[in-house]
């Protein structure tokens, strides 16, 4: 087996880890330590951090719909890849089968669109 293709990625991982450790470590040693309230808070892009969703309530259920849409098209793409690399051999048969697959998922898309699943309010 040859994992050689992944050696650069592994090297990148190692480099990133080393860099992180190095910069965190060096700032511990040489950096000045002056704390104030804002510095001790969790970083939340300028939003006031809170232990619960904003308003203390639940998130609207449409987030769930968005997540479902995402996962379904994610799965579709997963199947597109092996199809694409064998496309030349599969010929018309593979093409038609894939069209059927995509067509069915597209029906889902059309349905969600018509039902207002893509509107945000």
């Amino acid at each position: 087996m040859s994992l050689s293709a992944y050696v650069p990625i592994l090297a990148l991982f190692a480099l990133a880890t080393a860099f992180t450790l190095f910069s965190v470590g060096i700032s511990q040693i040489v950096g000045p330590k002056r704390y104030n309230r804002a510095k001790l808070e969790a970083y939340e892009c300028g939003i006031e951090p809170s232990p619960e969703p904003v308003g203390g309530g639940r998130f609207p259920v449409k987030f769930y719909l968005t997540a479902m849409l995402f996962i379904i098209f994610d799965i579709e793409i997963i199947f597109l890849y092996p199809w694409a690399v064998t496309f030349a051999d599969l010929g018309l048969f593979g093409f038609v089968e894939m069209l059927l697959f995509i067509g069915t998922v597209f029906i889902a898309y059309a349905y969600v669109w018509r039902r207002g699943g893509l509107d945000w309010d």
């Binding site: 087996m1 293709a5 030349a88 051999d89 029906i107 059309a110 349905y111």
Partner: protein, 527 residues
């Protein structure tokens, strides 16, 4: 390794791409239903709201009829083959069960499509609205979802695929295709929303567990046999180069998934809650069609893949069958809700079906298939009657509300009496002939386990007769309560479903031989 670079011609040549032979005629019943379900989704997306119900019902009805005709055509040709690269087995049991599913599906569809009993139909349009909220009150007045039709078709097509699946992977996909719509349908009851939501959630969570067991067992069986096809597992069991422990653990886990679906003890706990909470027409659909599909799958797994392990699995599944019959029958006696009573009766009936299946003979197979068809018609008709007995809060399912129903509505009470007698196994009903067939098949084997199972079966049938007869006595001999429920006048659809169910129960009891012969001729799996 360079899977993420574009394949060079040399690599492409190394891969053997044989295209599978697809027998479209044999797959037609499933393809028609899949196609119709997709069309149904499009109808829901684009058709105007007022006409959706009509279009959806007509579409589903036509699709099921065409599917039935396709099954009949295939049966006439008499094809016996593996198709779609051995993913599907088109053989006698497949065609018999697919035909049964199509017919029962049509009858159940009539109940699902009924809108005469309640304004807007028996379903609501959105499942997850919190009970008691403003939106919930509003939706109670609105028209129900028409997605129930495509969902029903999805479920039925999954079931048809399930009974034909010839490997565990196809079976798993089919299992999911028929389970997912059922979870959703359970959550859509118009009345008693909270119970309905609870039913759906319980069914979904436990069903997901069962699916997880199934797929883990599949992995172990793949480890054992190196393939997931039933024929391959059968061959590997003969050679037994790997540890048989792997085989048995895998089988046990796959069996958990299947026994959950047929509601065998100890995997039955969801059944009463789900049967009670789901819309009654959906309960009827589940009780009849899920039983057929799940049992068809179990029969194929046992008879095709594991027939060599018969002696080892007989004690385990035999014990499960005994427990199923006992628990179903005894707990049915204690029930005070008619839908829960029928749920426990359905559990007990799963036990009787297992008696037939464990005969491991042609007779066992054919009698189990006959039982599935006969039970399906009776149970749909019984739930159809339940949809008719109503008060202001929807269906009056508590048994005390049924007291004195015989005086209020002698015809409906008479029909229900007949159905209860059929469940109890009184001669001249299909309940008698089907029980007679499975017990006869088990006795015909003449070994210890089947005989023991038959003894338990007869004893529990007697126990089970008690709750049925109590309902009958209550309807005819008790005084009606202060505010007795009214019996709604059934719409054309419910009437038709009732008529078919009752007639089938009667005919299969009086002249069972044509269907028995059909099941007998069909009772041979191919590998």
């Amino acid at each position: 390794m360079n899977g993420f670079t574009i394949a060079t011609p040399a690599q492409v040549l190394a891969i053997d791409v044989r295209l599978p032979d697809l027998d479209y005629a044999a797959m037609a019943p499933m393809l028609v239903l899949f196609g119709a379900a997709c069309l149904g989704v499009l109808v829901d997306a684009f058709a105007p709201r007022q006409s959706r119900h009509t279009i959806q019902f007509a579409l589903s009805f036509i699709a099921l009829t065409v599917a039935l005709l396709a099954v009949i055509r295939e049966a006439r040709v008499g094809s016996r083959e593996l198709t779609a690269d051995v993913a599907l087995a088109i053989d006698g049991p497949t065609l018999f069960l697919q035909g049964t599913l199509a017919v029962l599906g049509i009858v159940a569809l009539l109940l699902v499509g009924e809108r005469a009993l309640e304004k807007g139909g028996p379903f609501v349009s959105q499942a997850a609205i919190p009970v008691g909220s403003e939106a919930d009150r509003r939706q109670a007045r609105e028209e129900g979802a028409t997605e129930v039709f495509p969902l029903t078709l999805f479920a039925l097509s999954g079931m048809m695929l399930f009974v034909a699946a010839n490997d565990l992977l196809t079976m798993f996909v089919a299992l999911e295709v028929f389970s997912l719509p059922l979870y959703l349908l359970c959550a859509l009851a118009r009345r008693r929303r909270l119970v309905s939501q609870e039913a759906a959630l319980k069914y979904f969570l436990l069903g997901a567990f069962a699916s997880a067991f199934f797929i883990f067992g599949m992995a172990l069986l793949y480890g054992f046999a190196g393939t997931v096809s039933f024929g391959g597992i059968h061959d590997a069991a003969l050679l037994a180069t790997t540890s048989p422990l792997l085989l048995f653990t895998g089988l046990a886990m796959v069996a958990v998934g299947l026994l959950f679906k047929i509601a065998a003890v100890p995997f039955h706990v969801w059944t009463p809650d789900v049967y009670q909470g789901a819309p009654t027409s959906v309960t009827a659909f589940m009780a009849a069609c899920t039983k057929v599909a799940a049992f068809g799958g179990l029969l194929r797994v046992l008879y095709v893949a594991f027939d060599r392990a018969r002696w080892d699995i007989e004690p385990v599944i035999g014990t499960i069958a005994i427990l199923t019959m006992l628990v179903g029958a005894i707990l049915a006696v204690t029930q005070t809700d008619i839908k829960r009573l029928l749920a426990y009766s359905s559990i007990a009936n799963a036990g009787y079906l297992l008696v037939g299946a464990l005969a491991f003979s042609k007779e066992g197979l054919s009698s189990a298939m006959f039982y599935l068809a006969a039970y399906g018609f009776t149970v749909i008709a019984a739930f159809a009657v339940i949809t008719l007995v109503r008060d202001d809060d929807g269906e009056a399912t508590h048994l005390s509300r049924w007291a004195g129903l015989g005086r209020e509505a002698p015809l409906v009470a008479g029909v229900f009496t007949f159905l209860m007698l059929a469940f109890a196994g009184i001669p001249l009903t299909s309940g008698f002939t089907s029980k007679f067939a499975v017990f006869g098949a088990a006795l015909g084997v003449g070994e210890a386990w089947p005989v023991a199972l038959v003894i338990v079966g007869v004893v529990t049938s007697m126990i089970l007769a008690f709750p049925y007869l109590r309902v009958v006595v209550m309807m005819w001999l008790s005084e009606p309560a202060e505010q007795s429920p009214t019996v709604a006048i059934p719409g054309a659809f419910t009437s038709a479903a009732l008529m078919v169910g009752v007639l089938a129960t009667l005919l299969l009891g009086v002249f069972p031989s044509p269907v028995l012969d059909l099941a007998d001729r069909a009772a041979e799996f191919i590998r």
